[in-house]
């Protein structure tokens, strides 16, 4: 199923295969998300040397290490800040942030809203599995109400965050939601995000079967994935989608577009150009081709 | 000048003390002197005690903060209290009598003038700091008038340059300049 004029996608071309087997639990949705990203990278013809992956801490943070690219595994909640410096200093790179629901919305929440506001070109993929998996299954800002976690032994009493609503309100250039259930649609959504000239935010509904699923008796991995189109998500995921993949009560696909200037372009044209500098920023010499 | 000369310009935040200190430091630089300028201020930008200190030398300055003042300028009542031990017995004080009610007394040479009132007569009370600067430089022989004029021109926004130049001259004329200052003025 190759896109027009390019070789068929082989995920092994984009992985550090010497690191296999990977650390992810059987049934974890993050591998599907990783495949969708690399497939999109392939179809967008992004050279691995120009691809910079910045990840935070948590299960989502470990995903980046398997990618055969320039990979930066940074501190908890801060990948967007590192990516901001990297993208401003090196506008020639394709910067992709992979983060999780805890990394992005709890400890990194402030950075998310300001990255959305700034609209600096990068793609932020938030893998939402409703749980802090790596630390053993604590409640996260997206854990559905009443769910059991190790820190909500009587059921989660807190309301959840709508990450896409937050990103939209904060002004992100492109906001979308995809699911690991629909891998082709997810790949196409990530392609749009990668091609977008501005800050693109994609929430990916992933699943933690080993910890969250077992704790809440949600069945096997396929059962959990199928549940993504069912009713397990909160009501605010209404059906107002621009291009729905298929009818269900989740808003998926492109959720919002805020056509705004890309921050790097604005900085270069408004601040650098009047001083006779417009091209490469931050005095970094062009990479060897 | 064998020993460093120490000055303090004090008053209320917003009176332009940092500005006049910067002009003076710039003029001294043009004269080939070495200066160290420090400041103390309150978290409030306006109204609190504000002061700017200068140490002036012909060579390296080991300790850049004031320890024995030769000159103290007080432009507002909020700055009327000062530690007397910080002044040399031979110090000269300039007090703005239009804004300082406390009667400053001590073994020093104390000179009171209505700097702010003079500035108001020239069109803007806020040039009182420059009037005082004129008087200070007439009383001392710290730097040449040419350097002060150049420093004023360099530091003052164009629309206030006439005012500041007039204010400086008015301050200068308030006193009988010292022979050294007169000579420096004449050379300019």
């Amino acid at each position: 199923m190759a896109a027009e004029g390019i070789d068929e996608f082989d995920i092994r071309d984009y992985l550090r295969t010497e690191l296999m087997p990977h650390f992810m639990c059987p049934g974890c949705g993050h591998g599907i998300a990783l495949r969708a990203l690399l497939w999109a990278v392939h179809e967008e013809r992004i050279a691995k040397d120009r691809l910079a992956i910045v990840t935070g801490i948590g299960c989502s943070g470990r995903v980046g290490g398997y990618i055969d690219a320039n990979t930066f595994h940074v501190t908890h909640g801060r990948p967007l800040t590192f990516a901001t410096g990297l993208a401003l200093a090196r506008p020639d790179l394709e910067v992709v942030v992979i983060t999780g629901d805890g990394d992005c919305l709890a400890i990194g929440g402030n950075h998310l809203i300001h990255a959305c506001r700034r609209n600096l070109r990068m793609t932020c993929l938030m893998l939402n599995n409703e749980i802090y998996g790596m630390t053993g299954g604590q409640v996260s800002p997206t854990t559905s109400e009443a769910r059991l976690t190790t820190t909500t032994p009587y059921g989660n009493a807190e309301p959840t965050f709508d990450a896409c609503g937050l990103a939209t309100a904060a002004g992100a250039g492109l906001v979308g939601r995809g699911m690991t259930l629909q891998t082709v649609a997810l790949k196409n959504l990530i392609r749009e995000a990668l091609a977008y000239r501005g800050f693109s935010f994609v929430e990916i509904l992933s699943d933690c079967t080993e910890i969250f699923g077992r704790k809440n008796d949600l069945g096997s991995s396929p059962e959990m994935i199928l549940r993504q189109k069912g009713s397990m998500r909160p009501d605010f995921y209404g059906n107002t989608v621009e291009h729905p993949f298929r009818p269900n009560n989740l808003t998926t696909g492109i959720i919002a577009r805020n056509e705004r200037p890309e921050y790097g372009d604005t900085y270069r044209s408004e601040v650098l150009a009047p001083h006779g500098h417009g091209g490469a920023a931050a005095g970094v010499s062009a990479p060897v081709e | 000048m064998s020993h460093p000369v120490e000055l303090r310009l004090s008053g209320s935040g917003g009176q332009g003390l940092q500005f006049s200190a910067r002009v003076l430091a710039e003029a001294l630089l043009r004269d080939g002197r070495t200066v160290a300028q420090s400041q103390s201020y309150e978290p409030t930008s306006r109204g609190g005690v504000s002061r700017s200190d200068l140490v002036v030398s012909d060579g390296d300055i080991d300790y850049p903060l004031v320890t024995g003042l030769d000159y103290l300028v007080i432009l507002d009542e909020v700055a009327a209290e000062f530690p007397p031990t910080l002044l040399k017995p031979t110090a000269t004080l300039l007090v703005d009598e239009s804004r300082v009610q406390t009667r400053v007394a001590g073994p020093w040479t104390i000179r009171s003038s209505p700097f702010a009132e003079i500035a108001r007569a020239l069109g803007n009370e806020r040039a009182g700091n420059i009037v005082a600067l004129g008087t200070l430089l007439a009383l001392s022989s710290l730097c040449s008038s040419a350097s002060v004029a150049a420093a004023l021109a360099a530091e003052t926004p164009p629309k206030f340059l006439d005012l500041n130049s007039e204010a400086f001259d008015a301050g200068w004329r308030l006193v009988q300049p010292t022979p050294a200052a007169e000579a420096a003025h004449a050379r300019a």
């Binding site: 401003l88 020639d92 931050a282 | 978290p43 080991d62």
Partner: protein
């Protein structure tokens, strides 16, 4: 400093101009008194040389942004004061672990907590060394004049780039806001150190290989090496490891690399110290008060001397040892409750001979106060 321009310059501005002269082309910061002048000057100057200035949403983000830009290949800096420095410590530890060159300026004000924002202090001496968690290598430079705020900033960049380490520039509010007449050298006359970049075939490249000088070459994104950087303990390939032997080897190199390059790092000033019986040790504005006090003591016939560590961490131990040995008493004046004195007591070999002057009021320690204690020590010993 040789040819150049003679101007009146503020300490914080000197730091900014030194950074530009050293090749800094990326600055991220957050407003905080008394360091904001550094950010303001960088915002003004960086666009003139094609660099990037960004004010981030918080101190944590500005530290993250400079590390990200440095990993992209830029020379980078941020500036802050105590409260902001505390917030930067997490990402500073990352830079130590991943060996990312960067310069962090801490203009010290009264603490703890919000403390006295407009008043000077020297309370971050230990935070600068041990602020982030775990054992880590770090270099801290302590300029005491406007001229040094310029020249030590340049040295901070050169050390950071040469040794792949974060360098902290630590000075008090007095030095930050002080304006002094200085000779600023021509930009062309300034020696700039450049980072060792990865070269050669990709297959053979190991991002944390133990090299001759213990400083690994850095892979620049886009150059074809496609490496992994992680704050997890990593081996020579840059990949996470918990293999005890590999961890031990990696950590020994990391923690030992600065010790191997003392020639680049160490810097200190002595004044009348050769035969000093009373040795004063101080940094920043306090060191300048101490210098005058020592000069006055010498005029009185007291054999006083000054040792001023310009590189504060790692402390210039070797040159200090000999002087400490011969001194009958050592005096450590500092604007805190006793931080530098802890290190001096340790290095003196005999803590009992170390006397202290501690100041917490937000006022600098004056020469006369130091002279008074020198006189007492001369009369009664320690």
């Amino acid at each position: 400093m040789g040819e150049g321009q003679r101007i009146n310059l503020q300490g914080n501005h000197a730091c900014a101009l030194g950074a530009i002269a050293a090749g800094c082309r990326f600055y991220a910061g957050y407003p905080i008194t008394p360091s904001s002048d550094v950010a303001e000057r960088m915002a003004l100057e960086l666009p003139k040389v094609g660099g990037v200035f960004i004010q981030m949403e918080d101190e944590i983000a500005s530290m993250g942004a400079i590390i990200g830009a440095s990993m992209g290949g830029a020379k980078v800096m941020t500036a802050t004061s105590g409260p902001g420095f505390s917030l930067k410590q997490e990402n500073l530890g990352y830079a130590c672990m991943v060996e990312v060159p960067c310069v962090i300026v801490d203009v010290m004000r009264g603490g703890p907590s919000t403390g006295m924002p407009t008043r000077p202090a020297q309370g971050d001496i230990m935070q600068a060394r041990w602020g982030t968690h775990g054992d880590h290598p770090i270099v801290v430079l302590a300029p005491s004049s406007v001229s040094e705020a310029f020249s030590e900033t340049i040295r901070a960049f050169n050390i950071a780039e040469t040794l792949r380490t974060p360098v902290v520039l630590l000075y008090d509010e007095v030095v930050g806001h002080l304006v002094e007449t200085v000779q600023v050298p021509d930009p062309g006359s300034i020696a700039r150190a450049e980072r060792k970049w990865a070269t050669g075939p990709r297959e053979a490249f190991q991002p944390y290989a133990a090299t001759d000088d213990d400083i690994p070459a850095m892979a620049r994104p886009g150059d074809g090496y496609r490496c992994h950087a992680t704050g997890l303990t990593h081996g020579e390939r840059g990949l996470p490891t918990q293999n005890p032997a590999e961890v031990e080897r990696a950590m020994q190199r990391l923690l030992g690399k600065l010790e191997r390059h003392r020639d680049v790092i160490d810097r200190f000033e002595t004044f009348a110290a050769e035969d000093a019986e009373i040795l004063v040790v101080a940094i920043g504005i306090t060191a300048r008060a101490a210098k005058r006090a020592v000069a006055e003591a010498r005029r009185q016939g007291i054999a006083a001397g000054l040792f001023r560590p310009v590189t504060l961490w790692p402390f210039p131990e070797q040159p200090f040892h000999a002087l400490a040995e011969q001194a009958k008493a050592i005096l450590v004046p500092e604007m805190n409750a006793g931080q530098l004195s802890l290190e001096i007591e340790r290095l003196s070999g005999r803590p009992a001979k170390v006397a202290r002057i501690n100041r917490l009021s937000g006022e600098p320690i004056e020469p006369a106060e130091i002279l008074k204690i020198i006189e007492e020590l001369a009369r009664h010993g320690r």
